[in-house]
C-alpha cells in the first residue's frame, strides 16, 4: 500500500455493545472486593511504580472493567507486587491479589 504519511486510526470510542465483559465477570468471582472500587486513585497515588513510570494501576483496573484488556498484560509487568496499594485502599479492595488474578486471566490461566 502506498504510504501517504497518515492513516485512519481505528475508532477510539469504547463501544460497550462490543466489549466482552466475560473476563471482568471472572475476575470478580476470583476477587469480589473489586466490585466495591469507587475509582478514588489512592492505589495509584501510593504506588512506587506509578511515581517513576507511566504505570497506573487505577487506570489499568478501570480498563479491565471496561473490557479494554489488549495491552494490560504488558503494562502489569511494571508492578512489583509490593502491596502498598492494598494497604491504602479505602474500599478494602485486595489489589495485590487482584493484580495477580488479572495477570492469570490475561494469560488464559
Amino acid at each position: 500500500m502506498k504510504d501517504f504519511g497518515f492513516a485512519i486510526e481505528k475508532p477510539r470510542a469504547l463501544d460497550t455493545d462490543k466489549t466482552n465483559r466475560e473476563l471482568y465477570t471472572r475476575l470478580l468471582k476470583r476477587e469480589p472486593s473489586f466490585a466495591r472500587c469507587f475509582q478514588c486513585g489512592m492505589c495509584s497515588a501510593t504506588c512506587s511504580a506509578r511515581n517513576f513510570t507511566d504505570y497506573n494501576i487505577r487506570r489499568i483496573h478501570t480498563l479491565f472493567r471496561q473490557g479494554q484488556t489488549q495491552e494490560l498484560d504488558q503494562m502489569l509487568k511494571a508492578c512489583m507486587l509490593c502491596g502498598k496499594c492494598t494497604l491504602v485502599c479505602p474500599r478494602g479492595v485486595n489489589l495485590r491479589h487482584l493484580i495477580i488474578q488479572m495477570r492469570k486471566l490475561l494469560n488464559n490461566d
Partner: protein
Amino acid sequence: MSTVAIIGAGVAGIEAAHVLASNGIKVKLFEKGASALKNIQDKAFLFPNFQSAQEIVTELSAKLLSDNIETFYETEIINLGNSQNSWVLTDKSGHEYVAQAVLVSTGYKVFDASRKEELGYGIYKGVITSLDMENMIRYDKIVNAVNSQPRNIVFLQCVGSRDEKVGNHYCSKLCCVTAVKQAIEVKKRLPQCQVSVFYMDLRMWGQGFEEMYRQAQEQYKINFVRGRISESASTFDGRLQIKSEDTLLGLPLKMTADLLVLMVGMEPSTGTTDLGKKCNICGEYGFIESLNPHIADNKTAIEGLYVAGTAKRPMTVQDCINDGRSAAVTIQDSLRTKNQSSNAD
C-alpha cells in the same frame, strides 16, 4: 386564640399543621389540588430504608384528623396581605381568610425533561424520567419502548440540575441516591438486566446512602460510569444509542440501551414562585429565601410569614418532616411572644 394559615398540604405543611394543632393552635390548611401529599403519592419506596411511600402517606394523612385543623382543598391562595397584625389570604374565587401567621409550604415541581431536547425525552419512547421509572417499579412493570423486557437500562444523573443551559446551577440533592435506589430496585426484579449509572459526582450525603451505593456495586453489580450523556438517538430496531465519555479513562463511549432514565431535578412549583414574587421573598431560581439558613431558616424577610419544605430548596421527605416541625415551633414561639407583649400593653 391564634390561627395559622398553611399554604400547601404536602409533607412539610401537614407535619407543621399537626404540631401546631396538637399544641392547641387553630390551623387552616389550603391545598390547591384535590388531595393532600400529591408528590409522594406516586412514589414506591423511600430511601434509605426502602420504606413503602404509601405507609408514610397513611401516617401523614392520619395527622390531619384533628379538631384544630380545617382543610380547604381545591383552594388556591393567590394573594396575601398584612394589616394590623393579621394576614388576609384571598383565594381564586375571591374568598378571604384571616390568620395571625402564614406558613408557605407550596413545594416543588420536577424539571421538565423535554427541555433537554438532545436527550430525547418526548421524542423516543425509551427515554423516560425517574418518575416514570418509579411508577414502573411501583406497579412491577419495567418494560422497554415495545413493552418487552429490557436488557440494558441506563440512568443519567443531574438532568435539569448543575446545568447552566437550563439556568439551574444548583444540585437537586436527591437524584443521586434515587438513581442508586432505583437501580437496585430494577436489579431485584430483573437480575439479568444490565444496569449502568452515568454520574458526574455521586453525592451520597445522608445516613445509609454511601452504604447503599456500596451495596449497589458489590451485591447488585451495577455499573457506575463517570461521565454525562450528551445525546441519545434511535437505532434502526427501536433501541437507543447514547454517547458519553468515560472521563476516568478519557475515552469516548457509546452504548445501546433499551431505557434511558433521566434523573430529573427539583424546581420551585409555580405556586411557590408566584407567592414568593408577590411577597418579594424569592431567592435564586424562584425558591423562597429564608431569613438565615442557620438560625432563622423558617422565617422570611417579612414578619409573620414563614416557609417550610421544598418551597425553600430541594429536600428529602425526611428533611421536609423535620422542617415542618421546626416551622411549627418557630411560629408558636413568635405567637407566644406576640401575645405576651399585647397582654402587657
